[in-house]
Symmetry: C2
Subunit: 426 residues, 2 copies
C-alpha cells in the first residue's frame, strides 16, 4: 500500500516515526507493506529533513493526489478549506483517506462521507477523537451488536487538565490556565479548547456515529469551563462530585440529545477518576451495560498511533472490505436535536449575596414560582467580608424552568455576581 502524507508537523512527524520503527514488524508479523511513497508540506524547509532521508517529497498536494500509484491520502495538515479540497480530490480519484481532522469532519463530513461511499472509498478517522482510545472502531465494530443509548465523554485534555489541577491543588482557573500555557498543555489562544468548541466537534462526530444521523456541531448546545471557580470545585468536593467538561449524547426516541457543558460527576462514577490530560468515553448500550474506555487524548505518538492503526486496517483489507456505510451522514438526514430548553437534569446553583436571609426567601420563592423542587441548600460565609455564598441543589427539572428562574434571580438587586449554574451528570 502506497501512502501519500500531507503535513509534517507534530502528528505527521509522529506517523513518519512510527512507520519507520514498525514497518519491519508489520511486514514480518502481519505480512503488510506500508510504503510512505510521498511526503507533502508547504515549504521546502519543512521537507528538507525528509528529503535528506531519501523520501520522495513535494510541495504540491494536488500533484501527489493525482499520482495514480498512491493508494491512500493521509491528511494531517489541519484547517478547513484546503483539506476539504484535497480529500474531495482524493476520493474522486478513488483513494482512501485517513485524517485526524475533527474540525473538518464536523464541518464538512456531510459532503465527504457520502462522496466516499459513492466512490467505494474509506475515510478513516480514529485519530480525530481521543487519539489513544480506539473509540471510533469500538462504536462502529465492537458495539455494533448493541444500540448506544447514552454516551458521555471527556474529550478535551486541556480542560480536563485545568479542572483536575484546580481540584487537586485548590488553584484558580486563571492561574492553572497560565501554567498550562507555559507547559504547552494549552494554546496561547485557548478559546477553542476552554469554550468547548473542540469538544463540540468531537461530540458531534460521536453523536453522528451513535445515531447514524448527521449531527450538526453548530447546532448543539455548548458551554465551556472558563466560568468554573475554585468555589465551585470546593462545593463539588463537598457534594462528593468532580466537575468535568463532558460531551453528552442520549438517544431520545427519534430525536438526538447532544450537548457539551460542565457536569458534576458523582465520585463513584467511572468518569470521575479520569484525571489530567486523559480522555475517556463512557457508554451505555442496550445489550452491554456500562463501558468506559480511557487513554491519551492527544499528543504526537498516541494520535500518530491511531493514524497508523487506520493505515494497517486499510492495508489488511486492501480496499476489498465493505466500507462502513456513512452515507447517512448528510444534510438531508440531519438529526432532530432536542432543544436545550427541553432537556432535564439535577442542577447546582451558586449565588453570591450580601444579605443571606432576605435573598434566600426571594430565591426560594422564585424557584417555587418556576415549579423547581429543592433537594438541598448549603449556605456559607465566603472570604469577602459581608458576602455569603448560597448553593442550591435542585431535583430533576427542565432547563427552561431553570433559565427563567435564574433570569429572575440574577435581576435581584441583592444578588451581587452572576449566578453559577452547573448540571449534574445524573
Amino acid at each position: 500500500m502506497r501512502i501519500g502524507l500531507i503535513g509534517t508537523g507534530t502528528v505527521g512527524g509522529g506517523v513518519i516515526d512510527i512507520l519507520e520503527s514498525k514497518s519491519k514488524s508489520f511486514q514480518e508479523d502481519l505480512g503488510l507493506t506500508l510504503e510512505l511513497a510521498c511526503i507533502c508540506a508547504r515549504t521546502d524547509e519543512e521537507l528538507a529533513p525528509f528529503k535528506a532521508k531519501g523520501y520522495t517529497v513535494t510541495t504540491s498536494a494536488d500533484q501527489m493526489i493525482k499520482d495514480p500509484s498512491i493508494d491512500v491520502l493521509v491528511e494531517l495538515a489541519g484547517g478547513y478549506e484546503m483539506p476539504r479540497k484535497w480529500i474531495t480530490a482524493a476520493l474522486n480519484e478513488g483513494k482512501h483517506v485517513v485524517t485526524a481532522n475533527k474540525a473538518l469532519l464536523a464541518k464538512y463530513g456531510h459532503e465527504l462521507f457520502p462522496l466516499a461511499e459513492e466512490k467505494g472509498a474509506h475515510i478513516l478517522f480514529e485519530a480525530a477523537v481521543g487519539g489513544g482510545i480506539p473509540i471510533i472502531r469500538s462504536i462502529q465494530e465492537g458495539f455494533v451488536g448493541s444500540k448506544i443509548e447514552h454516551l458521555s465523554c471527556i474529550i478535551n485534555g486541556t480542560c480536563n487538565y485545568i479542572l483536575t489541577r484546580m481540584s487537586k491543588e485548590g488553584l484558580s482557573f486563571e492561574s492553572v490556565l497560565k501554567d498550562a500555557q507555559a507547559k504547552g498543555y494549552a494554546e496561547a489562544d485557548p478559546t477553542f479548547d476552554i469554550e468547548g468548541v473542540d469538544s463540540a466537534h468531537k461530540t458531534a462526530l460521536l453523536a453522528s456515529l451513535c445515531s447514524r444521523k448527521h449531527v450538526d456541531f453548530e447546532k448543539i448546545h455548548v458551554t465551556g469551563v472558563s466560568s468554573i471557580t475554585s468555589a465551585d470545585i470546593a462545593y463539588a468536593k463537598e457534594l462528593d462530585c468532580s466537575i468535568k467538561l463532558l460531551g453528552l449524547y442520549h438517544a431520545s426516541g427519534d430525536r438526538v440529545d447532544a450537548r457539551v457543558h460542565p457536569c458534576l460527576v458523582p465520585n463513584d462514577h467511572l468518569l470521575s477518576s479520569v484525571n489530567g490530560v486523559l480522555n475517556a468515553v463512557f457508554l451505555e448500550c442496550d445489550n452491554l451495560g456500562p463501558t468506559l474506555q480511557t487513554g491519551a487524548g492527544a499528543g504526537r505518538l498516541p494520535t500518530a498511533s491511531a493514524v497508523v492503526a487506520d493505515l494497517v486496517s486499510l492495508a489488511r483489507s486492501a480496499g476489498k472490505r465493505e466500507s462502513i456505510p456513512m452515507g447517512w451522514f448528510q444534510k438531508n438526514n440531519e438529526a432532530d436535536l432536542v432543544p436545550i430548553e427541553e432537556t432535564e437534569a439535577r442542577y447546582y446553583f451558586r449565588f453570591t449575596t450580601q444579605d443571606a436571609c432576605g435573598v434566600l426567601a426571594n430565591i426560594t420563592s422564585i424557584l417555587a414560582k418556576n415549579q423547581i423542587s429543592i433537594e438541598s441548600i448549603i449556605q456559607k460565609d465566603v472570604k469577602d467580608p459581608g458576602k455569603v455564598s448560597i448553593v442550591v441543589i435542585t431535583e430533576k427539572t427542565k432547563e427552561k424552568r431553570i433559565s427563567s428562574a435564574i433570569a429572575s434571580i440574577d435581576a435581584l438587586e441583592s444578588v451581587s455576581d452572576k449566578s453559577q449554574v452547573i448540571r449534574f451528570l445524573m
Copy 2:
C-alpha cells in the same frame, strides 16, 4: 451470510435474540444480511422452542458443519473435545468460526489458529475475554501502531464481585461467596473462578496476542483469591490500596512475564475503581501511554453482543479481508516465560503470632538474611486474645528471596497461621 449455531444456552440464546432484534437494522443501516440458517443443540427438547419459531434445527453438529451453504460456525456449546472436533471440521471446510470458548482456545488454540490460517478462514473470539469490552479488536487493530509493554486486567467477574463486597461491607470471603452462589454470580463449584483458572485462560490468550507467541496457560503462575481474608482487605485500605485478582503481562526482552494472582492496587490507579462484576483491561504501550477499557465481563447479552459483533465483522468483509495472522500461535513458537522466582515486586506479608516482640526480631533477621529491604511495618492487636498481627511491606524484591524467607518464617514455632503474601501492582 449463513450462520450455523451450536449451543442454545445462555449465550447462544442471547445471540438468537440479538440477531432477531437487530437483523432489520443490520440490513437497513449496514446493508448486511445475517441469516441464522441452522441451530444445533444436544436434544430435541432444547431445540423445540426454536423449531416452533420456524428455524431449521438439528441435533447433528457434524451434518450442519458439512452443509456447504453454511458460511460461519458459531460455537457456544462450551467444553473442550467436542468443540475442538467441530471447529477443526468447520475450518477444514473453509468455514469461519466465532466462539466464546476461552478454555478451548487456551488449550487448543495452538492447533486451531494455524489451521485457520492455512485454510484462509478466520477464528473470531471477541466474546472469549471480557464480553462487553472489545479488547481483542483493540489489541489486534486499534493498538497495532504501538507495542504493548504491559497489560493488567480484571477478567473474572466472580472474583471481583467477591473482593468488592468484602471491601465495601467488611464481610468474610466465605460469606460473600455463599451469597454470590445464591445470587448466581458464582457457580456451585466455584473452583474454576476463585482459584484463577478462568483468569489464566484469558490471560494466556491476551499474553499471546500481545507477544505474538504461544503462551501456554498451563505454564503460567496462578494464585486465586480464596486465601484473602477480611484482615487483608482492611490492611489494604489502610495502605490506600484495593485488592484485585489480576491477569498480568509484561514484555520482558525476548521473554514473556505472564501470571495471575491477587495484587494490591493503589487507589489512584484506574483499575482500583473497577468494582463488582465489571471487567477491565489496563494497557501500557510504547506510543500510547496508559489506556483502560472496562465493561461487563460476562452475562448473556454482553457476551452475545460480542459474538454478534464478530459476525457483523465477518459479514462486512465477506471473507475477502485478510485474516489477522495467528499462525504464530503454535507449539514451536512458544513464549519463553519468565519463571515466577525471577519476577520482582513490592510485597505485603501478614504474620499472625502470639509473641510480637520475639517474632518481630526473628522475622526481620530472616528478611535481612534473604536481603529483603523493609519499607514499613504495621503491628496491631487482633481480636483473638494474645494474638498479634504483623504486616510487613517490602521494597522491590525478587520472588525467590521472598519464598525462601517465607519458608523460614512459617517454620518459626511462634508464627501460628500460614503467612499471607500479596504482591503490589507497582
